[in-house]
C-alpha cells in the first residue's frame, strides 16, 4: 500500500498467479479492496482461498484485511531476491522517495539508505519536468533514449531545473535532450546514495523508476555497471510480500516448497 498506488500480488507454488495495481488517490481502504478483488478474479480465487497474507507499504496500517505487516523494504528485498538470486543492491525509485538497500546472498537487508531530503533523486523531479514538457510519464524513457546531446543543468535542484527547463525550451532545446539531462541529474544523485553503501553488483532497479528505460540506462552509466530490471518493477514489493506469506505457510505446514526463487518466477 504505497503513497501513490496500491498493488497486490498472488503467488502459488509455481510463482506469480495474478496481480493488480491501482492509484491510491487517498482512499486506501476502498482501493485496497478493489486491487485485491481484481487480483483474486484474475486468479479465479476467492479471498478465503488465500493461505496467507502479508501487508506492506506506508499505508499498511489502513489495510481493510487482517494480515502480518512487514516493512516495505524487507518485502522489496524478498521480491528482488526471488526474481534475481544474484541481486545484492536494490535501487527503488518511487514517486516521493528513493531507497537503496544492500541485501545478503540470502536476500536479507544488510544496509539501507533513503533519500527524502531532496526531490532530485526522486520520481517527483521527472514528474515536474515531464509536466512542463507535456510528455506522458510512459513516454519519458523512450524519448530520453533518443537524445544525442543531453542538457546539462547548472544545479541539480529540481526547482531550479524547472525554471532552467523553461529557458532551455525558449532557446530551442529538444524535449529528448531535456529529459536525458534530468535522467543524468537523477542518476548522479542516486549513484551517490549507492556509493555510500558501497556498490555491490548485481543491481536491481524497482519502483516506478524501473519502468523508465532512460533512467535505468543513465543509472547504469553513472555507476558503470549493468542494471537488472524486473518485468513489473512496481510490483516487486507486493510480490515479495506474497513470497513471505508463502514461506510462512510452507514453514508452518512443513511442506516441500521451502524456498521460493526457482525459474518459474522469472516470468513475473
Amino acid at each position: 500500500m504505497g503513497s501513490v498506488s496500491i498493488k497486490a500480488a498472488i503467488v502459488g507454488g509455481q510463482g506469480m498467479m495474478a496481480s493488480g495495481l491501482i492509484p491510491s488517490g487517498g482512499n486506501y481502504k476502498n482501493v485496497a479492496r478493489k486491487v485485491m478483488d481484481h487480483a483474486l478474479a484474475q486468479a479465479s480465487l476467492s479471498f478465503d482461498d488465500l493461505s496467507g497474507l502479508v501487508i506492506t507499504g506506508l499505508g499498511a496500517a489502513g489495510a481493510p484485511f487482517a494480515g502480518r505487516q512487514v516493512s516495505d523494504i524487507s518485502c522489496q528485498a524478498r521480491g528482488c531476491h526471488c526474481l534475481f538470486p544474484s541481486a545484492r543492491t536494490i535501487i527503488d525509485i518511487g514517486g516521493q522517495f528513493t531507497k537503496v538497500a544492500k541485501i545478503s546472498p540470502e536476500g536479507r537487508i544488510a544496509d539501507f539508505l533513503m533519500s527524502e531530503k531532496c526531490a532530485t533523486g526522486s520520481g517527483r523531479f521527472l514528474q515536474v519536468i515531464a509536466r512542463i514538457l507535456s510528455v506522458p510519464l510512459d513516454e519519458i524513457g523512450p524519448l530520453s533514449l533518443q537524445s544525442e546531446k543531453p542538457v546539462e543543468f547548472s544545479t541539480n535542484c529540481a526547482v531550479f531545473a524547472e525554471s532552467e527547463t523553461i529557458s532551455r525550451i525558449a532557446e530551442g532545446a529538444k524535449p529528448a535532450d531535456i529529459l536525458a539531462g534530468v535522467h543524468r541529474a537523477m542518476a548522479a544523485k542516486v549513484s551517490m546514495l549507492v556509493k555510500r553503501l558501497k556498490l555491490t553488483p548485481d543491481i536491481v532497479l524497482t519502483g516506478g523508476g524501473g519502468e523508465d528505460r532512460g533512467l535505468a540506462q543513465a543509472i547504469g552509466d553513472a555507476l558503470k555497471a549493468g542494471i537488472l530490471v524486473p518485468d513489473f518493477p512496481r510490483l516487486t514489493a507486493a510480490f515479495g510480500a506474497a513470497c513471505l506469506a508463502r514461506e510462512e505457510q510452507t514453514a508452518n505446514s512443513g511442506g516441500q516448497n521451502a524456498r521460493p526463487g526457482n525459474g518459474s518466477e522469472a516470468a513475473l
Partner: protein, 276 residues
C-alpha cells in the same frame, strides 16, 4: 563626479548612482530577462536620466551579480560578495555579518573590524533558503509573494514544516492545509524554515553583532523577524535592501577612481552594443 554600480541578479537588475561623497543620486530596479545586456542598459539609462545625467558623464561603472560578465560597458566586474560588503558597510559601519537573501541564492558574509570581507558562505545549489522557496509556495497557496511576510506576522505561532526540499515542502503544505492548519500559521512556518536554513549556514562564520539582512528577503518583515529569532538578537535592515549590491558596486568604482584608476576609453552611449 557620478559613479554607477549595476547589480545583475537572477531575478532583478539594480542600478545605483552616487556622487563623490558616496551619496545616492538615483537608483532603479528592473527585471532580469533572458537577455541581460539589453535589459541592463535599459535600467542603466533609466537611472542615469533620474539623476539628471548623461551616460557619458559617468566616471566609473562597476558591474556585479551573477550576470556581471554580460555587461560590456562596465569598467570593472566585481563579485557581489565584495560589493554587498562595501554597500552595507557604508550604511552600517557596525556591521559584522551580512545575510543576503536573493531570488535564487542566499549568502552569509563576515566582515572584519575594517569592513573587509573575512569569509563567506553561499547557497546557490538548492532552492531551500532562497526567495525561490517562498515564491514557489506562494503560488501553490495563491497568495501574493509580497503579502507573505505580513501574513506570517499575523500568525498565532507556526506550523512546523519538516521538509527542507521546496518540492516536498510544497506537498507538505497542501497536506497541512487539508488537515485544517491555518494559512497564516503555515506561512509563518515556511518563514521559520527559510530562516533556520540561512542562519544555520551563516553560523559557520561565527555570528556576531551587528547582523544586517539585505536583498529581496529583507523586504519581508516576517522573514526578518524569523531570522532575528534564530540569531537571538535584533537585526538591521537597509532602507532599500534591493540596491545594497548596486550601491556597493558604485562605491567600489569610486574607490578605484580615488586611487587614480580611470576607464580604459571615453564613454559613449552610442558605442554600447548589445552583443559585444
Amino acid at each position: 563626479m557620478p559613479f554607477a554600480g549595476m547589480d545583475i541578479g537572477s531575478t532583478m537588475t539594480k542600478v545605483a548612482i552616487t556622487d563623490e561623497q558616496g551619496k545616492i543620486l538615483s537608483s532603479h530596479i528592473g527585471p532580469t530577462g533572458a537577455e541581460h545586456r539589453h535589459l541592463a542598459l535599459k535600467v542603466m539609462d533609466e537611472t542615469v536620466s533620474k539623476a539628471g545625467l548623461s551616460f557619458g558623464e559617468l566616471d566609473f561603472i562597476v558591474a556585479t551579480g551573477y550576470g556581471r560578465i554580460n555587461v560590456p560597458f562596465a569598467d570593472r566586474q566585481i563579485t557581489e560578495i565584495t560589493c554587498h560588503a562595501r554597500g552595507i558597510r557604508s550604511l552600517f559601519p557596525s556591521a559584522r555579518i551580512i545575510i543576503d537573501i536573493g531570488g535564487q541564492d542566499s549568502k552569509g558574509i563576515k566582515l572584519d573590524a575594517d569592513g573587509k570581507v573575512a569569509n563567506f558562505v553561499m547557497n546557490d545549489k538548492c532552492a531551500a533558503g532562497t526567495g525561490r522557496f517562498l515564491e514557489v509556495i506562494s503560488e501553490t497557496l495563491g497568495i501574493n509573494l509580497a503579502d507573505m511576510g505580513d501574513l506570517a506576522l499575523s500568525a498565532n505561532g507556526f506550523v512546523q514544516i519538516s521538509n527542507t526540499c521546496t518540492v516536498f515542502a510544497e506537498h507538505e503544505v497542501t497536506s497541512r492545509l487539508a488537515e485544517g492548519a491555518g494559512v497564516a500559521e503555515i506561512v509563518a512556518g515556511l518563514h521559520e524554515a527559510i530562516a533556520s536554513r540561512v542562519v544555520n549556514m551563516t553560523r559557520h562564520l561565527g555570528i556576531e553583532k551587528d547582523v544586517v539582512v539585505t536583498g529581496g528577503g529583507a523586504k519581508n518583515k516576517g522573514l526578518v523577524r524569523a531570522i532575528a529569532g534564530k540569531v537571538g538578537f535584533p537585526v538591521l535592515t537597509p532602507p532599500e535592501p534591493f540596491i545594497t549590491g548596486a550601491l556597493g558596486a558604485a562605491l567600489v568604482g569610486k574607490d578605484f577612481y580615488d586611487r587614480g584608476i580611470r576607464p580604459a576609453k571615453e564613454r559613449k552611449r552610442e558605442d554600447v552594443k548589445f552583443f559585444a
